[in-house]
């Protein structure tokens, strides 16, 4: 214990004997730690946003479809509305909200233009709890009931069609016999979305109205179920799948939108890779500094050895020096990172490059997300790898022959 105290004191003093070198090293570690944490938070924020948007836009955490619906999302592949056991499961504690939808490709036309869209027949009250539309209606109103005869469409689509709130548009699709089914709708609400593709691609109408238009009775295209946490849908999925039975296809969101799902998985791996890469660059600096510190002090180390300090203590002292360096650097780096992220919590507007981001499905405002586990991981990796990096110069110092070391010029 006493010996350790002495080594610690020696190490601390040695650090500040050449304070310029130490400060440069600390600066390198600070920048490294800061960039690791800050960049990770940015990436996490981006992915979280993408997943949250993706889920809120339509999937729901778990979905039930006709087995063929995902390959051929037409009105031919419909299922009966939930009943019996499934309905009971949907009332379970795991389920935060659920809704049924009729979702088919359609064509919308105004006096001046015609566009392809996805027509979604919804139960407005249930849908409110799941997807984004209800809260994002900026003009007019959201639908009020499944037999609401209005249509809610996106701002961009309104512009493309040169139409407006309160005007009529015609929606055309095909019914189950492949006959044309069309109908006039009055636009009662206009929504805005962070993602242009949703504004242009989706129109919402009452479920009953759409069912009548397409002649499918009370059948639906999908049941969407929202759980409490999108990262952990396994239990919810199991219980719903068991209740839904064999006739239908029940899938968690990460399999429905495999792009989003794999994105999330890749991200978790990528964060580690990123931290390691940053550290690798950093470790060369660290090793170099320590090697220099050892070379500079060959005679001094020789003297200490001659005075009776054990090689182990020498090794301990140099490793302690580097760990002290790392700790100081990390503390400052962490504080700096948190201090930069905190004021940016409200989002960083990157709309200059926003269009490219939107193509990827991310929005043009970045919200950095700081996770404790990312901070802990970054710090642990730096400390542990730093420790091993400093072992080599320390090892070499402890192996000096005292006489040669003292007489070295």
């Amino acid at each position: 214990m006493n010996q350790f105290k002495m080594i610690l004191r020696l190490a601390w003093r040695n650090l500040w004997r050449n304070h310029r070198r130490t400060l440069i090293m600390i600066a390198a570690i600070v920048i490294g730690a800061w960039s690791m944490i800050f960049m990770t938070a940015l990436m996490r924020g981006m992915v979280d946003d993408m997943v949250a948007d993706g889920i809120s836009v339509l999937p729901g955490h778990v979905q039930i479809h006709h087995p063929d619906y995902r390959d051929d999302p037409t009105i031919a592949n419909v299922i009966a509305p939930p009943s019996g056991e499934l309905l009971e499961a949907l009332g379970g504690a795991e389920v935060v909200a659920w809704a049924t939808r009729v979702r088919v490709p359609a064509v919308i036309s105004s006096e001046r233009d015609t566009r392809g869209v996805t027509l979604v027949g919804i139960e407005p009250l249930r849908e409110r709890d799941i997807s984004f539309v209800a809260g994002d209606v900026v003009e007019g109103e959201f639908l009020t009931s499944p037999d609401d005869r209005g249509l809610v469409i996106g701002r961009k689509l309104v512009e493309k069609l040169e139409t407006g709130l309160g005007k009529r548009v015609v929606v055309m699709s095909q019914d189950q016999e492949n006959e044309i089914a069309d109908r006039g709708f009055r636009i009662v609400g206009i929504f805005e979305s962070k993602l242009a593709q949703y504004e242009e691609g989706f129109v919402f109408a009452g479920e009953t109205v759409v069912q009548k238009l397409l002649g499918v009775g009370d059948q639906i295209s999908e049941v969407a179920i929202l759980g409490s946490d999108y990262r952990n849908v396994e239990t919810l999925f199991r219980s719903i799948e068991a209740a839904a039975g064999d006739g239908v296809e029940t899938l968690p969101w990460n399999e429905i939108d495999s792009y989003l799902g794999s994105m999330l998985a890749v991200m978790d791996g990528f964060v580690i890779v990123f931290i390691v890469v940053v550290f690798l660059a950093l470790s060369f600096g660290l090793v170099n500094t320590l090697v220099m510190a050892v070379f500079e002090r060959v005679r001094e180390i020789g003297l200490m050895l001659a005075l009776g300090m054990t090689p182990r203590s020498i090794l301990g002292q140099i490793v302690t020096e580097s760990v002290l360096l790392l700790i100081i650097g990390l503390v400052i780096g962490n504080v700096a990172a948190i201090a930069t992220i905190e004021p940016l919590k409200d989002g960083i507007d990157v709309s200059i490059v926003g269009e490219g981001m939107e193509m990827m499905g991310a929005s043009s405002v970045l919200y950095p997300a700081l996770y404790l586990k990312d901070i802990v991981m970054a710090n642990l990796i730096v400390i542990i790898l730093g420790f091993f990096a400093s072992l080599s110069p320390a090892w070499r110092a402890s192996k000096y022959d005292p006489i040669r070391a003292i007489t070295k010029v």
Partner: protein, 251 residues
């Protein structure tokens, strides 16, 4: 209860007295105009000219209709387009191009698009008589022009009709020749007009033999349809309106 019944009865009486005669008239006029143009069945030869600022092209074609639900149009010239055909039965539409030797059903997504590159949309061509049932017609004016009575009728689509227009205004002469059809958007802006430029006697009745569809917003762009010959109420076999006939003409 009695009061309510009475009230209802009075309202019905009032409506019956005020509106319907006129509305009925207007509707009958529109129906008359369509019947005049088509007859129970018809066969005609016509030319369609598509004009754009930088180019113009003409197509000759032959058309058969039977009742309100069946029609077939086949292009005969120029050689490049000859054989192209469009078949409409009920609300379905098929098109055939000899180059690909395939009959393709025109999907709902393409109904709003232009028919053979003209200013007519597929919908204009296939659903011409939806206007009778899916609109409310009112007689706006009755004028005397060149010794003919001309009715001006405003047709407003029903709330849920699959029609994008805010209203259409039709001018129909007393011999049921459609003189003009205007398509207005929902802001009351005129979008396109179908105008009759020439009237002639063919197949025993007066019909519009030259009609021009032009968009208001784009100058110098129009499609003209002129009729060379027309026969009405003739015998046309139901086999004419089949996909196999569309693909392999039998006459």
């Amino acid at each position: 209860m009695i009061r309510k019944t009475l009230c209802t009865a009075m309202m019905i009486g009032f409506l019956a007295a005020a509106l319907p005669t006129q509305a009925q008239d207007a509707r009958e006029i529109v129906q008359g105009a369509i019947d005049n143009w088509r007859g129970l069945s018809s066969y005609g030869e016509m030319t369609m000219t598509i004009h754009r600022p930088s180019w113009e092209r003409s197509m000759s074609m032959r058309g058969w209709t039977s009742g309100s639900k069946k029609s077939l149009i086949r292009v005969t010239a120029p050689k490049k387009d000859a054989g192209n055909g469009t078949l409409m039965v009920d609300n379905n539409m098929w098109s055939y191009a000899p180059k690909v030797n395939r009959v393709i059903k025109v999907p709902s997504s393409m109904m709003g698009q232009s028919w053979m590159g003209s200013d007519f949309s597929n919908k204009d061509v296939s659903r011409a008589d939806d206007i009778v049932d899916q609109y409310d017609h009112t007689l706006l004016a009755t004028d005397e022009i060149d010794g003919h009575t001309v009715w001006t009728i405003q047709s407003i689509p029903h709330e849920e009709a699959a029609v994008v227009w805010g209203k259409e205004v039709l001018e129909v002469r007393d011999d049921y020749v459609l003189l003009e059809q205007e398509f207005w958007d929902q802001d009351g802006v005129l979008v396109k007009t179908l105008k009759t430029l020439e009237i002639g006697k063919m197949g025993g009745r007066n019909i519009a033999i030259r009609q021009r569809m032009s968009k208001v917003e784009t100058d110098d762009e129009w499609t003209e349809l002129s009729v060379q010959s027309m026969e009405f109420d003739i015998e046309i076999s139901d086999n004419t309106f089949t996909r196999s006939n569309l693909q392999n003409p039998r006459d």
